[in-house]
């Protein structure tokens, strides 16, 4: 049995989950791996609040730097959050050659390149399984089990809050604002909810997945991002009627050598596995050129699920440290090339769902169809719903694949038609073909 001494920075929700997990199953982990994980220090500005855990004397401290500098401590677990102090501490620990475990997706999305390079220069590692998909071992699957695969595409439901809201809207038929307020009260959504519902959190995770898939840190600016704010219950009902569900989907594709990357509400066929992912669960669907389709599913957030992922990284970092492994694959995979080329948002080929309000006049539909035709957009199906009192009828159209720039131009022209009322609603549709 070998022992590894761990210093934890940040004793919030996830920090407490990690400590709880190690207290509960540390002996089992030692039996399994031959390595005893010992939490030597926990740094937090607040060391008074009761986290419901018994912490031995001398473990809690308010001095994070002292933990990093402690020569007895082999691994640093960064669970502070944010991108200022967390960045400083992470870089400092790496510069000292220590291995760092983090759950901080914003930190990696914004400062990944600097962090991976610092790890490499100091012959050490950064481990970040918990930054994507909570307890789901998705990054590890990508960098180990699927290491022999060129990644063709990744589709991810990566934000539990959004998936929870969409699932409840679908089940209960209630408006977005009402479900959001309820989710906030129940603790499923934060206040303010912007990072989640505007898709930023999903984009952070998508950027990390894409970086690992294609071998270089991807900037947030490469991800075309749209959230679920203001999602209308009628879109969800229309999708349902047509055999689809709406999910906030991260889509990553190798588009003929260019990386295509977006986060947006997307219609997915009900019979596809990813449509069955409900409530606050996450899932990642990965298609590799050798393995074909695979999927990974589980809790994407929460004290213990995220703690489980951090603990998996702790044990891997511990083995790497004790075996003197040097720079691990979690770093080398991110630094295969200096930069990537990206498919511009305008050039992304996609299918779309479009809802229009058309005046009930002869020729109205013909004008719309002419515009679609002009922009090389083929129509897969059209449903005209019952006419409203005011003489306008909702029309729902599913298109075939076309370029985003064509869609965008067509929508502008349709909006400008005299027979068109309201701004048309448009969403991506993904059929996984």
């Amino acid at each position: 049995m070998r022992e590894i001494k761990i210093g934890i920075l940040g004793f919030g929700t996830v920090g407490a989950g990690v400590v709880e997990g190690i207290q509960k199953n540390g002996a089992l982990m030692a039996e399994r791996t031959g390595i005893v994980p010992r939490v030597a220090k926990i740094a937090d500005l607040d060391i008074q609040t009761d986290r419901g855990l018994v912490i031995p004397d001398g473990v809690l401290t308010t001095d994070a730097l002292a933990v990093i500098n402690d020569p007895e401590i082999d691994l640093i677990v960064e669970l502070i959050g944010g991108t200022t102090l967390a960045r400083t501490f992470t870089l400092e620990a790496l510069r000292q050659g220590k291995r760092v475990i983090t759950a901080n997706k914003a930190l990696l999305a914004d400062h990944g390149k600097e962090i991976y390079r610092t790890a490499q220069e100091n012959n050490t590692g950064i481990y970040y399984e918990a930054s994507v998909g909570g307890g789901i071992p998705i990054l590890r699957s990508q960098r180990a089990g699927l290491i022999g695969n060129r990644i063709e595409s990744i589709f991810g439901i990566l934000n539990g809050t959004c998936n929870y809201i969409l699932t409840r809207m679908e089940r209960e038929g209630l408006p977005f604002a009402e479900i959001l307020a309820d989710a906030q009260q129940l603790g499923y959504a934060e206040t303010p909810p912007d990072l989640d519902i505007d898709g930023i959190d999903t984009a952070h995770k998508a950027v990390i997945l894409a970086s690992m898939a294609y071998g270089a840190p991807v900037p947030m600016s490469a991800c075309s991002t749209k959230g679920i704010r203001g999602m209308s219950a009628s879109e969800i009902a229309n999708a349902e009627e047509l055999g689809y569900r709406i999910k906030l989907l991260a889509i990553i594709k190798d588009n003929a050598g260019e990386v295509e990357l977006s986060v947006e509400p997307t219609l997915v066929p009900k019979e596809h596995m990813i449509a069955s992912v409900s409530d606050s669960f996450n899932a990642v669907f990965v298609k590799g050129d050798i393995v074909g389709e695979t999927m990974y599913y589980g809790r994407g957030a929460g004290r213990l699920p995220t703690g489980s992922a951090v603990i998996g990284d702790i044990m891997e970092a511990a083995a790497d440290k004790l075996n003197d492994v040097g720079v691990p694959v979690s770093v080398t995979m991110m630094l295969q090339r200096d930069s990537l080329t990206y498919c511009s948002a305008d050039n992304i080929e996609k299918r779309c769902y479009v809802r229009l309000s058309l005046e009930d006049k002869p020729g109205a539909m013909a004008q719309v169809m002419t515009i679609f035709g002009k922009h090389n957009i083929s129509i897969a199906s059209v449903v005209q719903k019952e006419r409203h009192a005011a003489g306008y009828a909702p029309v729902v159209i599913l298109t075939q694949e076309a370029k985003e720039s064509e869609f965008s131009a067509a929508m502008d022209e349709i909006s400008a038609l005299a027979v068109s009322r309201h701004v048309p609603v448009r969403m991506r549709l993904e059929d996984f073909e």
Copy 2:
């Protein structure tokens, strides 16, 4: 860049998949990991057949032992199959301190203890991701991502042939024998199909999953095994009507310290993720005490998916060899304890689906219900179907949870009733609660 020399034993379907994968993506794998995988030798008795691959001169040989004995070769990949030569070669390579990668579930299920111990005694490793779930990185997830978890339960669809047959029976409403014959013609089922349809292949994999979950090699005798041979289309239709699908399910549970282990056709609720796993896909649903519910899905067999898993192991074994890691977790996790205690098949608590044929007489149902009551089996629902011409009516019953021994006794008594015609059909029902 460091190089690793690989010797492959067995150039059949999977062997060719591994070589194809390395030829296709070897350079990418080297970029990602810093390790160049080089196939130095391939041994097979047949080195004439064209596998559609270009193999450099001097690589093919008929002498497997010479490959094992070659001091230049660091890793041995055993893809011979069977449990005689494969066992001899695997043990010999391990005794020489070489790392061995295998996809051979029967070998591990039957001789696992000897193999893990030989690896340990010789300070080396055996890697066997491809033995369970084909391309799905399920064992790696268990021994790395979920290392901090006590495993509460595992539910697996582990045999693509059975899942393919059940899916087609459900979709097409055709009899078992007809679909099986068609599956054999299409190459989805082997001739003879016994290993698959009698559940043995699933049991091999279940035994490996259970061994890793609970820390000791589990003997095949601990797994109560029943296949799908002769599955009736009416059972599938009845299940469908009640909101269930029938899957050949491996069920592994920590049952109050005893390991519960079985393979049997099982009704699963249609809305559960595992019910969406169709065609020849596999999936494994794992519940850990820290992470909660997770699921892993993908192709469970086939040249390239299995090749993908073997390649993942090759790269891990290569890193372990180059970093002088000693005995890896894939070995230590299997040797935590000498033996386990098992829940006897009779003591397994389960829900059941029961189909009876009852004479349409007053009191017939009462007699059946009295027997259930006597054996402490509560009824969740009863559907009496339309009466047959001969005056017998099919009755479908879903029970609450009760002991297998009680079910077994009750079925005997019901069979013996004068009002009962045909032997009652009984299957497990799993609600994942």
